[in-house]
């Protein structure tokens, strides 16, 4: 946990992402044009969210099997950061949507799916805040977390594939898709994904350590 190399890697990747993301030449595609740079910020958010939620699910399942309250704190904080990433993904997506599709929130299956997915986790936090007893809170929210994760996968992975979408990769969208990324963009895109995920993990570890310290003092 307290190793330093991945934090340095995270900083290097993110600085690289920001600098290179704004400096490199991106292919001028209709309708994205220069907004294509948002790819380095919008898409990694969703990668980050799914990663955080998966880690959260793993800790929830471990809690349900081992009954260690520490796992519950892990699960909660990872879900928290995942939701933060989801909201950031929304904000960057709205900006992007405004300049390419002309609307802040166009009607689109992927957007609906993501919105509902984030809604599950809001419900998860409301559930947590509604229970006072620690044990009970941990058990019930872990159960709900498993439920929410399955729905999250249904909504972000399966559901958009069943319908046409404005997003690239499905439907008859003229923009780019994953295969159109040219090699310079890939050079920035993959480090960006890793960098953002590492940043998420970093935020989580700090939050978890704060919470563990607080519990110890009490």
């Amino acid at each position: 946990m307290r190793k330093i190399w991945w934090k340095i890697l995270c900083i290097v990747f993110l600085v690289f992402t920001v600098i290179a993301g704004f400096k490199i030449k991106v292919p001028a595609l209709y309708p994205t044009q220069e907004t294509l740079r948002n790819l380095f910020f919008h898409v990694p958010m969703w990668f980050g969210m799914i990663t955080m939620m998966t880690v959260s699910l793993v800790y929830s399942l471990r809690f349900l099997n081992k009954k260690d309250l520490k796992h519950d704190i892990f699960a909660q904080n990872f879900a928290h950061t995942g939701t933060l990433f989801g909201v950031l993904g929304f904000i960057t997506g709205m900006l992007w949507g405004k300049y390419t599709w002309g609307e802040w929130i166009p009607e689109d299956t992927k957007i609906i799916g993501a919105a509902v997915a984030v809604l599950f986790y809001f419900a998860y936090f409301i559930l947590r805040s509604a229970i006072n007893d620690e044990e009970k809170k941990a058990h019930l929210s872990a159960a709900y977390n498993v439920f929410a994760y399955v729905m999250l996968i249904i909504f972000t992975v399966i559901y958009p594939r069943m319908h046409a979408s404005l997003h690239p990769g499905n439907g008859g969208n003229p923009g780019f898709n994953a295969y159109d990324l040219d090699s310079t963009m890939r050079m920035v895109f993959y480090p960006a994904i890793i960098g953002w995920i590492l940043l998420g993990v970093w935020i989580c570890t700090i939050k978890i350590r704060i919470e563990l310290l607080q519990r110890n003092t009490i």
Partner: protein, 289 residues
């Protein structure tokens, strides 16, 4: 055991009748199929949530402890789910009857719609039993229940509403006069009769004489293969240009597309199964609280 508590069932019946009656008072009759669809599922949703609200909450702590000693938690959840499913299917069908009596009925295929209610009701029962098990353990469980369950019910709703839209045909169909007034704009015209007239120079395209519901005739050009649609209600999608109707797609009205239906029903059953399995896995872990 639940059947002994008559007041629960009666209150649900009253709820259904009262809401449909209120919507009848407010709307008289609904002309617009999507509105019918939305209102129907909203009423059903709240009737279901009300129905499921009592699943675990009415058992006192002592009863729950007693039940946990008697049976495996999985069988408790399964029995509660079964009971809920029964209750919800009954409520749903009753709601449908009431709703069609007061507000009107847009459904073309009643058997398929009732099948939809049955599968949907079982799915809802699976979700609501588990969320009720969770929320009954918390304080403020009255407000918590909808908060927890509505996001989880959204996938069911998407499928149910889509399939209902499919069954009601969803669109309002126009006639040729309407299409002619908006030439260049794509509209769906409901035709009574389409007759073959001639082929155009381009051998793929044919000219037809089509008559719409007002018995207004129009020449129609369609490129592609169709069977002669004599005296079958046909929907033609296309637009007017220079006095001729160019059809882009033609389909018959009576047919509900079977492939889409199978897709929707399959997805709904699969979803129900997934939820049930997860519920059975999770419930023993939280039953003791």
């Amino acid at each position: 055991m639940e059947l002994r508590r008559k007041s629960g069932i009666n209150s649900i019946l009253l709820f259904v009748v009262a809401t449909t009656f209120v919507s009848f008072l407010a709307l008289q009759t609904i002309q617009h199929a999507p509105t019918w669809n939305a209102l129907f599922w909203i009423i059903t949703l709240f009737a279901f949530i009300n129905a499921a609200n009592n699943t675990f909450r009415n058992d006192s702590e002592n009863t729950q402890m007693y039940l946990n000693q008697l049976a495996h938690p999985q069988s408790i959840l399964l029995s509660k789910t079964l009971y809920n499913a029964l209750l919800m299917v009954t409520t749903g069908i009753l709601n449908y009857l009431c709703y069609s009596f007061f507000v009107g009925n847009f459904i073309s295929n009643h058997a398929l719609f009732i099948l939809l209610i049955v599968i949907g009701g079982i799915g809802f029962a699976c979700v609501l039993s588990l969320t009720n098990a969770i929320s009954s353990k918390a304080s403020f469980n009255n407000t918590l229940m909808p908060i927890l369950s509505i996001p989880l019910l959204i996938p069911f709703f998407i499928i149910l509403v889509a399939q209902t839209n499919h069954l009601v045909g969803n669109k309002e169909y126009k006639d040729f006069a309407y299409a002619a007034a908006r030439s260049g704009m794509e509209v769906d015209v409901l035709c009574k009769n389409i007759e073959f007239q001639s082929s155009t120079a381009d051998s793929n395209c044919n000219v037809f004489a089509a008559s719409d519901y007002q018995n207004k005739k129009s020449t129609m050009v369609f490129c592609g293969n169709i069977d002669p649609h004599n005296n079958i209600e046909t929907i033609v999608k296309g637009k007017f240009e220079n006095g001729t109707f160019y059809a882009a797609a033609i389909w018959t009205k009576a047919n509900v597309n079977t492939n889409t239906s199978i897709k929707y029903y399959g997805a709904l059953s699969l979803l129900t199964l997934i939820v049930l399995i997860i519920g059975l896995y999770l419930y023993p872990k939280i039953a003791k609280f």
